[in-house]
Amino acid sequence: MYYIAFIIALLLLSGCTDKLVRVMPYEKEHFADPKMSLSPLEERAEHEGHIFLIRESSAGGDSSFQGGCGCR
């Protein structure tokens, strides 16, 4: 149910092209800055991904595969 709603939202988004072009290519200077990354330290993200899986009961919410250590 949740993922169906998500897919529908994605399809709708792909149709709203004009409104969603908010930053031109020559205005993307700041997004090339490492401190503007959603996950600025990759090594920390991977290491704490393992730690939080072992020390907590939740998972998900990241858009990349962390590793099947089966710790959950």
């Binding site: 908010r22 600025p40 090594e43 920390r44």
Partner: protein, 372 residues
């Protein structure tokens, strides 16, 4: 002529564009060393290594290796760090108590607005073997203002307990699907939404944990299926040329009635052309599962037993300092370092198992990246 242009343009929308954008695939090498140490007497040293090599403008192959060298009084003592464990009764050994090897092979392909990657992962330790495969696809839209991503992973893991115990099932499989949308909102602000679906089945508890009460001792027993959903929203904002903030919130819920909230905020500042540092705060809170009872309240006839504090309600806090160093703007080298302090709230399960009111840990990461 105009019609030809329009048809050509329409075709370009459907077909991956030919060499129209510089590829983000880069040759690189990285080595790292991570540590973890907590008051449950667990210490882990994790060297990491990765190499990424482009085979063409569009194709990259990569190899990553992580080794976890674990020293744990709980493993030495048989099950629990400070309590004589006659139930498990394992014996101490010299050197590291467990070493886990985890290689990953991956392939990545990029062409125009499309990027795909996939790979396989394997991990091996004394009592556990993990195998997984994963696929990711990202499509850029709206002049690369919007990125839609989907990730799939499937794990096939096997238990081989270090104690003489026949498990009801010796496998643990997990399927995961992630959907994400990234959107640039302004030249200084972008956001991401992520939805994750997770399904696990098999032996989902620990073969070593047990509930001990006055008249009985029972190994942990959880349901053999678990379905979870996570919703996350993340954002990053440039406050001014030198300062940025990134923040995230995740809500998780599953059919064991565990639900959680995770909130994180990080401030980063360029202290010079070369150094960036800042502060990160993370807060986590979860409810307990629908089968975990208060410590000492289990009955021998109960269907499920939990000794792991993660099946109960607790909070945790994390405060950390990140640091990156780049020798010059065009340098091929980059160094990153982080130190974090992590602590849970007081919890009766933690007290019962670890003989301490809460868990506290310090973990660090260090990595050198080299682009060639």
């Amino acid at each position: 002529m105009q019609i030809i242009k329009i048809i050509a343009a329409s075709l370009m929308m459907l077909v991956p564009f030919v060499n129209s954008y510089a590829s983000n695939l880069k040759d690189s090498l990285s080595i790292g060393l991570n540590t973890y140490s907590d008051n449950a007497d667990v210490q882990v040293y994790s060297p990491t290594f990765s190499v990424m090599k482009t085979l063409s403008k569009n194709l990259l192959v990569g190899f990553k290796m992580r080794v976890d060298a674990i020293t744990a009084a709980s493993i030495q003592n048989g099950g629990r760090p400070r309590v004589s464990d006659t139930v498990i009764g394992a014996s101490a050994k010299s050197g590291f108590d467990d070493v886990r090897y985890a290689p990953t092979f991956l392939l990545a392909y990029e062409e125009g607005d499309n990027a795909a990657s996939g790979g396989v992962y394997y991990s091996k330790e004394v009592d556990y073997e993990g195998k997984a495969m994963f696929l990711n696809y990202v499509r850029q839209l709206n002049s690369q203002n919007t990125a839609i991503g989907i990730g799939l992973s499937q794990s096939y893991d096997t238990w081989n307990p270090a104690i003489l115990r026949e498990l009801p099932k010796d496998y643990r499989n997990e399927s995961k699907v992630d959907f994400s949308i990234n959107q640039l909102i302004s030249p200084t602000f972008s956001m991401q939404l992520v939805y994750s679906y997770m399904y696990s089945e098999g032996f989902l508890s620990s073969p070593y944990h047990y509930v001990i009460q006055d008249s009985f001792a029972k190994f942990e027993n959880y349901p053999d299926k678990r379905t979870g959903h996570a919703f996350a929203i993340k954002g990053v904002t440039l406050v001014n040329d030198l300062n940025s903030m990134n923040y995230s919130y995740r809500y998780y819920t599953d059919d064991w009635d565990i639900s959680s909230h995770t909130a994180s905020v990080e401030w980063l500042k360029d202290f010079s052309d070369k150094f960036t540092s800042g502060l990160r705060l993370r807060y986590y809170t979860q409810t307990g599962s629908n089968f975990a009872k208060d410590v000492g309240a289990y009955a021998v006839t109960d269907q499920y037993f939990a000794a792991d504090y993660r099946m109960s309600a607790f909070d945790s806090y994390d405060i950390g300092i990140p640091l990156t160093y780049k020798p010059s703007m065009t340098s091929d080298l980059k160094y990153s370092l982080s130190v974090d302090y992590y602590q849970t709230s007081d919890n009766a399960y933690i007290k019962s198992w670890y003989d301490t009111n809460y868990l506290q840990a310090v973990y660090t990461t260090f990595r050198i990246d080299y682009e060639f």
